[in-house]
């Protein structure tokens, strides 16, 4: 049999069908509430529903009954979860089959960080561990950009923290995200907006130290002007702000430049 990743015809559950809310209580573990709306799908009534929560080092599993009889587990405390970004995976499982086939699934990342009062300081690029086959990283633009890294790599988080990743990957990440915002989405920048992730990103790069020209929709109107701003203004400013060259050279051969 040729084994492909989705060789069983697994369906995807739209993320807007799942609402997850974290309840953080001072001095206690965080718990979660989940609203699961599967009315639009046509799965057998006895299909089991599981919600799995995981972070880089922990895993927890919560049964939510079946399609025909959804239940909510009493204990929804994320006692094992240790990091601030929790990935939830909902699984619809055919348990009548001896192998527990997954009929459908979806993954959602939720930050345990309380929403800051100053929304301009929101975390703008969550890191998510995923199966990327042979890719090391990619940007997932669903909902908002997430930096996906390949979970098959041991110590991937340590790798992300290295100057190599900073110098070789993050400038490309900034480039990709800005191309998505300004060229693919043609997003209209709202300088006072805090709701759209696009506005938060533009504000982030506009505030980079040493940025020569802040983004101005009037000034950077055509595609060429937008690409110029990304390539010649933002990415060099990002690299300067984060000392990418110096850090890479230092770890590569131990030399100062």
């Amino acid at each position: 049999m040729i084994r492909r990743f989705n060789y069983t015809g697994r369906k995807k559950i739209d993320r807007d069908k799942i609402k997850i809310q974290l309840n953080k209580n001072e001095g206690l573990y965080t718990s979660f509430d989940a609203q699961i709306n599967l009315e639009d799908y046509n799965f057998p009534g006895n299909t089991a529903i599981y919600m799995e929560a995981r972070d880089k080092s922990s895993y927890m599993r919560f049964p939510f009954g079946s399609i025909s009889k959804q239940t909510v587990p009493d204990n929804r405390i994320l006692s094992e979860i240790q990091s601030e970004l929790v990935s939830f995976r909902i699984k619809l499982v055919d348990e009548s089959n001896k192998h527990g086939l997954i009929l459908a699934s979806s993954e959602i990342s939720v930050s345990m960080e309380p929403e800051p009062e100053d929304k301009s300081k929101m975390f703008i690029l969550p890191l998510v561990h995923a199966d990327l086959e042979d890719q090391i990283w990619k940007i997932d633009f669903r909902e908002k950009p997430h930096l996906m890294v390949n979970k098959k790599i041991d110590l991937i988080d340590e790798f992300v923290d290295t100057p190599y990743f900073l110098g070789l990957v993050f400038p490309a990440v900034v480039r990709l995200i800005l191309i998505q915002i300004l060229i693919v989405d043609s997003h209209e920048y709202d300088e006072s907006g805090f709701e759209d992730w696009q506005d938060l990103w533009i504000r982030f790069v506009n505030n980079l130290p040493g940025i020569q020209n802040r983004y101005d929709p009037e000034e950077f109107d055509t595609m060429e002007e937008k690409i110029y701003w990304i390539e010649e203004v933002v990415v060099p400013a990002f690299c300067t702000a984060y000392n990418t060259l110096k850090k890479v050279v230092e770890v590569f051969n131990g030399d100062e430049i």
């Binding site: 989705n6 089991a48 799995e52 080092s57 192998h99 086939l101 988080d157």
Partner: protein, 241 residues
């Protein structure tokens, strides 16, 4: 026998200093002063006593200490830095045995002083807390993960314990036992965990197969035998030997 204790913050600092001195060979043994001084340690439970032992395997240590830990009432017992660091100091000859020349090879600090819960990569590498947590999940089924001496992490531990969805999955651990555990010789089968990713071996199973199956099958609800039935023929040499 002695009452089980935990380090205070100052005790942990003192243990850290001991480790540093041992690393530079200024010190060889752990003094009773470090272990029992009421100014830097405290009794966790007056009713629970532990015996001095030399543990020759992770499994032996985990079985004994799990029993002990069950009896004590202390906040977040699996994550309590003072407790596990004190236990590592108390059983130091097991976690860091002396060589025939009478020296000790001191490893990274987090092997002896439990890392904070958030330091996920280091946290599970504590030489006593790590095995006991695994034993708590799997009991005697943990034998394949807890094979070998305490001071050596081991191929199976290395590959499995850093993957939370694998290490907590009873069916998967059962499958590993069926596939790679040599009952007769009470050790992993030869060639099961080479450095390279060869057909049918541990890395191939954990890295490639589990990653792939997890997309399509709910491995958590499957038994070890059911998981084995999904494996391609490259695993037959371990399945049937």
């Amino acid at each position: 026998m002695t009452e089980i204790r935990a380090f205070t913050d100052i005790g942990i600092e003192k243990f850290r200093k001991y480790l540093s001195e041992m690393k530079s060979s200024e010190r060889i043994i752990i003094d009773d002063e470090l272990l029992f001084d009421d100014n830097i340690t405290y009794v966790v439970s007056a009713e629970v006593e532990i015996k001095p032992s030399m543990f020759y395997s992770k499994m032996e240590a985990a079985e004994y200490l799990f029993e002990i830990i069950q009896k004590i009432n202390i906040e977040e017992k699996f994550y309590n830095i003072g407790l596990w660091s004190w236990l590592a100091a108390y059983y130091f000859d097991s976690v860091c045995p002396q060589t025939v020349q009478g020296q000790r090879k001191i490893g990274n600090e987090y092997r002896y002083i439990l890392a904070k819960k958030r330091e996920y990569r280091r946290f599970h590498r504590h030489l006593l807390a790590g095995p006991v947590r695994i034993y708590a999940y799997h009991g005697s089924n943990a034998k394949i993960l807890l094979y070998g001496p305490l001071d050596k992490f081991g191929d199976f531990s290395e590959q499995i314990t850093s993957r939370p969805d694998v290490v907590t999955n009873k069916g998967l651990i059962n499958a590993l036992n069926i596939l790679y555990w040599d009952e007769e010789n009470e050790r992993p089968k030869r060639g099961a965990a080479p450095n390279k990713k060869k057909p049918g071996t541990l890395r191939r199973f954990v890295v490639d197969m589990v990653g792939q199956f997890d997309m399509n099958y709910d491995l958590y609800s499957m038994s070890g035998k059911e998981i084995l039935n999904l494996l391609p023929s490259e695993f037959d040499k371990f399945k049937f030997n």
